[in-house]
């Protein structure tokens, strides 16, 4: 099938492209930009006038909750939510039940994702069996079964020797390891950033050292073992400095941040509102501003939704008793665009953190409109005003502080491999 996306504003940070032109798709791939190749006279035409044509977004953190937690979400529901937000490629964490520590679970997730026909799903495999931090997982078998990288998720790694061995083993096979730096002995029992707000409101604090102590250890081990490393969900100012220093010293590491850590600080906790209970926690205003600076400086090259859908009851409790996480995959792009209002961000920098940036972190062939790429793209109405409603949500999750919020800019349709998988109604 041939497709001509006509007269849209093509914006693609991977090629430094920003112009009104046509995009041509054939056999699932982008075959030309601008002039029509031969034989496109009978192509199906999609009028993209007044719209932006963007690469499909790449989200490094979407919890699909399947297998194991289907009361919170499923591969089908969260996949549908993702494409409605313009996400065409996503990475899912290993903390399903059963955990992604066998090829069978990795295969199950990918089969279900294929069946759903929504976003391209790349699961993370467990770095250790059961995420217990004791015995190494069958890393090679897991990556052969489609795991894009290995991670111990949010479970931390209490035993530094096991971590060191795991990294050596991963490095042997040139596998990518994803770190969530978190020294559990410091963060345990905490539910909010340790600071004035948590102190005033008597909420158990998570000090920034819980992240930075682990991050420093992890960076030293990455340097020693030479493993390929990605640092996920940085939340502290100091972490940005440490990753910047490591990069300056020549270490080949990348980092991402959750969009809510860029938009919100712990000021919102004065309401004891469990919807703002996330891990890592919303930190101080200084942390937030430094994370934004980290993006501008290219220290952090990916912004993710850190989508964590929950059933309703998970958030109906006093703050500390609620389950952490927000379900914002559908609104990742308009949420991220709110950053443009306060920072001197240009759209292209922001978009690269949602497309080519995260793709590069994981070596994915995604997030680009370059000729020869898979035709994963989004038609975006940058002026549309719309409200995201609880009733109209696609995710199965009930947990977002953004229901009812008005956004400017809306994903109108999403294409994966040249096939339309979503259209706004």
């Amino acid at each position: 099938m041939k497709l001509r996306i006509q007269n849209g504003r093509l914006i693609d940070p991977s090629q430094g492209l920003d112009k009104v032109t046509d995009l041509f798709v054939e056999n699932h791939k982008i075959v030309a930009i601008g002039e029509a190749p031969e034989g496109f006279d009978d192509a199906q035409v999609v009028d993209a006038s007044e719209q932006w044509v963007l690469p499909g977004l790449v989200d490094l953190a979407v919890s699909l909750r399947e297998p194991g937690f289907t009361q919170k979400g499923s591969i089908a529901t969260e996949g549908r939510a993702a494409v409605s937000g313009g996400i065409t490629t996503l990475i899912s964490p290993p903390d399903t039940r059963p955990i992604v520590d066998t090829p069978a679970v990795a295969a199950l997730i990918q089969d279900k994702a294929d069946e759903a026909g929504m976003a391209n799903v790349f699961p993370l495999g467990a770095l250790t069996q059961g995420l217990e931090g004791v015995q190494l997982s069958n890393m090679v078998a897991l990556t052969d079964a489609g795991c894009i990288a290995l991670s111990n998720g949010r479970n931390g790694m209490a035993n530094t020797k096991v971590l060191s061995r795991a990294l050596e083993y991963a490095a042997t096979h040139d596998l990518l390891v994803v770190f969530h730096p978190d020294e559990k002995s410091l963060s345990e029992g905490g539910c909010a950033h340790e600071g004035l707000m948590s102190t005033m409101h008597g909420l158990s604090g998570i000090p920034d050292t819980a992240e930075t102590v682990a991050l420093m250890r992890d960076l030293l081990l990455v340097e020693k073992t030479g493993v390929r490393a990605h640092f996920a969900r940085l939340s502290c100012a100091k972490s940005v400095e440490m990753v910047a220093d490591a990069k300056a010293a020549g270490l080949d590491v990348t980092a991402d941040v959750a969009v809510h850590n860029l938009l919100l600080s712990d000021d919102v906790l004065n309401q004891f509102d469990g919807r703002y209970h996330v891990l890592p926690p919303l930190r101080s205003e200084n942390d937030r501003l430094t994370l934004i600076e980290g993006i501008k400086q290219g220290v952090i090259t990916a912004i993710c939704s850190d989508h964590q859908p929950h059933e309703k009851m998970a958030k109906i409790a006093p703050f500390a008793a609620t389950e952490p996480g927000m379900a914002n995959v559908e609104i990742l792009l308009p949420l991220a665009m709110q950053l443009m209002d306060e920072g001197d961000f240009d759209f292209s920098t922001l978009l690269s953190c949602l497309t080519s940036g995260p793709a590069a972190c994981f070596g994915l062939e995604a997030g680009s409109l370059a000729v020869g790429s898979f035709a994963d793209f989004v038609l975006f109405d940058s002026t549309a005003r719309w409200s995201w409603s609880y009733e109209g949500r696609k995710t199965k999750g009930h947990n977002s502080p953004y229901f009812g919020e008005e956004f400017i800019g809306r994903v109108m349709s999403t294409y994966i491999s040249g096939q339309q998988v979503y259209q706004a109604v």
């Binding site: 004035l196 102190t199 004065n270 008793a321 389950e323």
Partner: protein
Amino acid sequence: MMRSDPRALQLNEHGQLKHFLTLDGLDKTILTEILDRAESFLSMGEQSVKKVPLLRGKTVVNLFFENSTRTRTTFELAAKRLSADVINLNIETSATSKGESLLDTLKNLEAMQSDMFVVRHSDSGAPHFIAEHCTPNVAIINAGDGRHAHPTQAMLDMLTIRRHKGSFEGLKVAIVGDILHSRVARSQLQALTTLGVNDVRLVGPKTLVPSFFEEMGATICFDLEAGLKDVDVIVMLRLQKERMKGALLPSESEFYRLYGLTEESLAWAKPDAIVMHPGPINRGVEISSEVADGDHSVILNQVTNGIAVRMAVMSMAMSGQLQSDEAPAVKDEK
């Protein structure tokens, strides 16, 4: 949908209390009104008939998710002296039970058509949660939530201070011990700063006195002598034995040596300083028996004042509920 500001949550549209959740956001006028009203109830305790009919026909439920005989008893007495019917419920929370049980418990209690819940819970913010999810027209009184607040305790302490010192102007107050875990200290600090005390010192080691309290208007002292120098009021906090396990302190004896209130350390304060303690006291851990039972101690006055303050707060919140014009709101369950 944004939720209401918790500071607004406890006031009705006329600015009167309808819940009593925290001192955060309450102004000097309201705090003074509580003290004045409590003062008027105090004399009543000495009469042979100790009851007033302010809560006649109302049902007060003492909802204690955390055990406390003393606080529950004074709330019970306060409610009975206001002529209310009182039900005591001690509900132990298991570690695994989450919001479901709390919400379910509430729904059951609402069905009993109670008028007031007095809530103690180990989670900070639990009374806010209950006030948000409960049927309108039920007054929620915070009897201590996690490390967050214990506003009636703080107000009874303010009453004790006012009765001994006359006013709050120019007072120097030291709060000593485990500030980190203390809901009492947090509420006292808020009450003191609102009532015009601008020299509040928090005394203890760094493990028990987080630096963030400075931003809340306190001065932090790691040295007991500096902390007690010329103060008018000393508040000693109870040191829980389990703090030693969390590596917050080496031992009880080292704590007593550095921060215990003895006759020697008491001498650093003003000669007419009063010594308070929210109880129950650990003799020989944070305070010596000589001081606890000595002339400066007003610990037992605090207990008497506690009943009067709780009567004041309960009657004010109930009248604030009755004078609220708000239609019972439709709950937003998102």
